[in-house]
Every structure is written in C-alpha cells, then in structure tokens.
C-alpha cells in the first residue's frame, strides 16, 4: 500500500524525453519569440537592450542569450505593480503577488496561455513522481496571492487527480482530512510537513498506516538530511519541487522517482548557472547562481532572471530517461547567506548539522547579534521528546552535541539554546530561519 505503484508513462510527460537537438531547436524558436515580445512591450527591457546596443535580431543561437541583460528582483519592485507586463489587462486572467515581507510586494501576471503552460508543467511534475488520475492530492500550499496553492491546484485537476484544496494551516484538520479522505499525496512546504508529522501522534494518526505515499515539497530550501528524516518518520516518498513566482510559480523543476534532483522543464524555462562574482556563465557541473529565462510567458516574460538560488546544473543521464537537465536541490539562497566573523554561513548548513544529532527536529532559528563589535550567533532548537530526559546532564549533552556538529560543519562556534517545543514560529509558507538583530 505504501509503495509507489509502477510509474506508467503519462502522455503529458512526452516533452520530458525530447531528444537534445529537438529540445534546443524548440528552445531557440521560443527564445527568439520571447525576446521580441519583451522588446516590443516592456519598456525596461527595451531600454536595456538598446543601451547594450542590441536588438532582438542579435539572438541567433541559444548561446547568444548570454549577451542579454539580467533581470533582478528589484526590477519588479521598481516597476510595481504592472511595469513589466507585456500584455494588456484584457488578456491577463490572473495576478499573484509575493507576501512582500520587505517593502512593496512583487506582482506577477498570467494570460490564459500562461495558465495552460503552468498547468502543463505541474501536471508533468506530478506525473514525474508517479501520481496520476485516481490519486487524491491534498494541496496544503496556501491559496491566495501566493502562487503555490492555485498553481498546484490547476495542475492536479488537469492531471485528473482528485484535489483537496485545503490550503495551509490548521494541522488538526489537515490530519483528519488526510486520514478520512484517504489522501495519497500532499503538497506543502517541507517544514510544514514536519510539523504535521509532529502533531500526528497527539491526534492519534499513524502516518505510516495511511495511504499517503508521496509528498511534493517546495517553496523553501531544504536538505537531503531533512528528506531522509521525513521519509523515515512518515513512510512516504518526499519529492523536491522547485519554482518561483517571478518565473511562473511551482513547477519550474521537479524530481522524478529517482529523487536525484529536480529536472528543469527546459522546454519552457531556459536555465543558466552564473558565477556569483563575475556573473559569467559556468559550465554544467559547476556551482553558481541559477538564472532562468521564461520561454513562453506571455503576460510577463522574464529574461535572464537572477533567482538568487545557488545550485549546479547537471546533464548527466538520469535513470528515468528524461533528457531534461537537473539542478541540485536548492539548499542555499544567496539571499539567506549570512556572514559571521568573516565566514559565509547558510542556514542549510545549520540544518544539516542539527539533523546529524539523533532525535532532534529541524525546527530552528538563527539569531544574529553583535556585541562590542563581535558577531554572535545563537541557534535556537526546539526540545523534542526524544532528546529530553529528567536529568540536566542528558540535555546538556545534546546541547554540546549540537554545538559540535555545527562547529564541525561551519568551523564556527555558535551558542545553542534549547527552547520549548512549538515556540519557533511554524510557517505555512516559507520558514524564516535567520533573524538578524545586528545593527550594521
């Protein structure tokens, strides 16, 4: 019951297996069209291309993409709300927006065609991890301005699966529905699913005995260690889905059943990896920032959008037979990186370190302070039943183990503070890992 049934080939997945040359010729055709479209309808892009002394006709091969200027997140803020739209409002059928934790949100738009492309890539995402008509998909991504909820919803429906549009939050109800409706898959953030795992015993739900077999997890960076923990504790397979609103939402890339990194749906999203310092393209296999170009987006074409996500691209053959290149799971975002006493640290390193210690859950938060010119890091970790005993020594040992694990991974000594369970805020969207209280 828990095992994934044989994947079976879903016709919607056909483009995943395109021969290399055909894929490239499709990409080039779409790239030329999208550059032309952006040039004709988006003032900012036209100005930048003109400034670079280029015209859309200068894109003659895929390699020419590297001549084009980058687009960055602040471009979306600076042109808030509709400045990057390439379609008139009468053709736009949907708007989404980021939560806007800092300043103005960013707004993204979709034409009917864009929604179809989005549904298509989500369908292919679900199919890639073995889901099909007959599956019951509990969609616990937030519905609303956030792209996660509706994005997954449309794709799941198009696949012919049964969607439970439960949205995020209310863990008790999530568990009740999961059990009573016989959900076979769930979509949410990995940290929220961990929260569900934690709550299940209290509500008398045994996850391992449910028909649930797959989790489509995304919207925040997570680690391989977290995947192993989720799989061991819930008995499901955890798949990594990647996406960002600026490009389309979830469904830019998705893991197949081999679970060896998300395949990018390259027929719609053209990936590059650039060096963080020189901004020059890097060959496959080298780590850098992922840059994406939307090859079909009508309402809001994104040319060479800098995602801030750090990964590598691999063209190594995947056992599943897909010809689409894979990215390594996004464990790090250049945005999340913090510098402590001159050392670059990513939250994912802390997460990996914490998960190395038996019995802890990666509910953690990193607090940065500065005292007398010296940076201090405190990692707050929630106490779990597994590590708690009635003696002080045992818990102090756990604290020391966590400290050592962090030090051996980052080379930095950080203060570890154990905190009450459930006190670190659970996000139903993206987990907030770093709180920087340093006054710079």
């Amino acid at each position: 019951m828990k095992k994934n049934p044989p994947a079976g080939f879903h016709p919607v997945s056909a483009p995943d297996f395109l021969p290399h040359e055909q894929l490239q010729s499709l990409q080039l055709q779409r790239l030329k069209a999208i550059v032309q479209r952006a040039y004709d309808h988006v003032a900012l892009f036209r100005r930048r291309l003109n400034d670079a002394g280029l015209t859309p006709e200068d894109v003659r091969s895929l390699a020419d993409i590297t001549k084009l200027p980058f687009t960055v997140k602040t471009d979306l803020r600076d042109t808030y709300p509709f400045g990057l739209f390439a379609s008139p409002m009468k053709d736009i059928v949907r708007l989404h927006a980021s939560t806007g934790t800092t300043g103005k949100p960013i707004v993204v738009a979709y034409t009917k065609e864009d929604i179809d492309v989005w549904s298509n890539v989500i369908m292919r995402s679900f199919a890639a991890c073995g889901l099909h008509a007959g599956d019951v998909i509990q969609n616990a991504y937030g519905y609303g301005l956030f792209t996660g909820g509706l994005g997954a919803h449309y794709g799941a429906e198009a696949l012919g699966a049964t969607v439970i549009p439960i949205s995020g939050g209310n863990t008790q109800r999530q568990l009740m529905v999961m059990k009573d409706f016989g959900a076979t898959a769930i979509c949410c953030t990995p940290s929220y699913f961990l929260h569900i795992i934690e709550q299940a015993p209290e509500l008398g739900v045994k996850l391992k005995e449910l028909p649930l077999r797959a989790g489509v997890f995304g919207a925040e960076p997570w680690t391989e260690a977290m995947r192993r923990r989720i799989e061991a504790e819930s008995g499901i397979k955890a798949y990594d889905i990647y996406g960002l609103s600026e490009i389309i939402g979830p469904g830019v890339a998705m893991e197949c059943q081999c679970q060896s990194g998300p395949h990018i749906f390259e027929d719609w999203f053209y990936p590059e990896i650039i060096d963080l310092k020189t901004l020059k393209p890097l060959p496959d296999g080298e780590e850098g920032e992922l840059v994406l170009t939307t090859l079909g987006k009508q309402a809001m074409p994104m040319i060479r959008y800098r995602t801030r996500d750090i990964t590598t691209l691999t063209s190594e053959k995947c056992e599943c037979g897909r010809t689409l290149r894979r990215i390594q799971r996004i464990g790090r975002r250049s945005d999340d990186m913090f510098i402590i006493r001159g050392v670059n640290v990513y939250p994912s390193q802390i997460e990996t370190a914490l998960l190395k210690v038996e019995g802890t859950l990666p509910h953690y938060q990193i607090i940065l302070t500065r005292e007398k010119g010296l940076d201090e890091v405190e990692v707050q970790v929630e106490v779990t039943k597994e590590v708690f005993g009635d003696t002080v020594g045992a818990l102090e040992q756990v604290q020391r183990n966590l400290g050592h694990s962090i030090e051996s991974l980052t080379g930095l000594r950080m203060k570890v503070r154990m905190v009450q369970p459930q006190t670190i805020q659970r996000s139903e969207g993206k987990a907030k890992r770093v709180i920087d209280q340093r006054k710079m």
Binding site: G389, D390, T391, L395, Q420
Partner: protein
C-alpha cells in the same frame, strides 16, 4: 512500588514556571512534591502528582515536553544520621543516584525522600533486603481522608 515522576522542560526566562503551574491549578491537579533542576539556559521541573496521567495529557496538549520516570520513595527517620544510614546502603550496593528530593509531608516522625536510581527495580530489591522502608506508591498517592 515505583512512583511516577513527570519532568518538564522549562526555558530559563521569567514566567516559565508559572505557566504549567497555572494549567495544573486550573485543572484541579494537586502537586505532592516537586523539584527544579537548573542549568545555564534551561530548567527541568520534576513533579510528583496523584493524577499524573491527567497532568501529562494536559501538559502535552499545551505544548510541553513531558517525560515519565520511575522514582523510588524511601522512608527516612527524622533524626541525625537518618539519611546517612540509607546512603550507606545505597553506596555499598553500588546503586547510582541521579538525584533525589524530599516530600513535603512527614509521616509520624519520618520524612520521605524520592530517589532517581539508574535501575529502580534493582534498587528496590536491595533496599528492601537491607530493611530500608520503601514506601508503596499507593500509600503515598492515596487521598487524604476528607
């Protein structure tokens, strides 16, 4: 023979102790005795209560991490050397005491101490062999006559 003890993780900050206390008070759960172990950044509250199962459920429902451990209650004559005699037995038998604390109530002229041993079953056996009065939990937990 063994006595159930609940232990709770507490953060080291103002108000950390009052929250569980208030919860128990509201539910009408009486605490027989307690002790607090404090470390640098956290504390452990140890409780012995009559209705420990109810208390455990209540505390867990409110987000506390609760652990149940077996304790051994021992009667100690309230006179100089009373405890020393018992500790002699403990020491000679090689029993390891993690910690201990006292009951607030006294029975006749005897105090009651609760011990946390590594191996409570073995401890009970040895203590009884050496004629130390191990107090049965039923006796300690019985309701006082109204």
């Amino acid at each position: 023979m063994k006595l159930k003890q609940l232990s709770l993780f507490l953060e080291n900050r103002p108000g950390a102790l009052s929250r569980p206390m208030r919860l128990l008070a509201k539910a009408g759960v009486n605490i027989l005795t307690l002790s607090i172990a404090d470390a640098n950044q956290f504390g452990i509250l140890r409780l012995i209560l009559r209705d420990w199962e109810k208390a455990k459920k209540l505390l867990e429902k409110n987000g506390f991490v609760v652990k149940v451990t077996d304790m051994v209650a021992v009667e100690v004559p309230d006179q100089p050397g009373g405890l020393a005699k018992i500790l002699d037995v403990v020491e000679k038998a090689g029993l390891n005491v993690e910690f201990m604390y006292a009951f607030t109530e006294k029975r006749e002229n005897k105090g009651i101490l609760v011990f946390r041993f590594d191996d409570p079953d073995r401890a009970i056996k040895i203590l009884q062999q050496r004629k130390v009065n191990v107090v049965a939990s039923v006796e300690l937990l019985k309701q006082e006559a109204a």
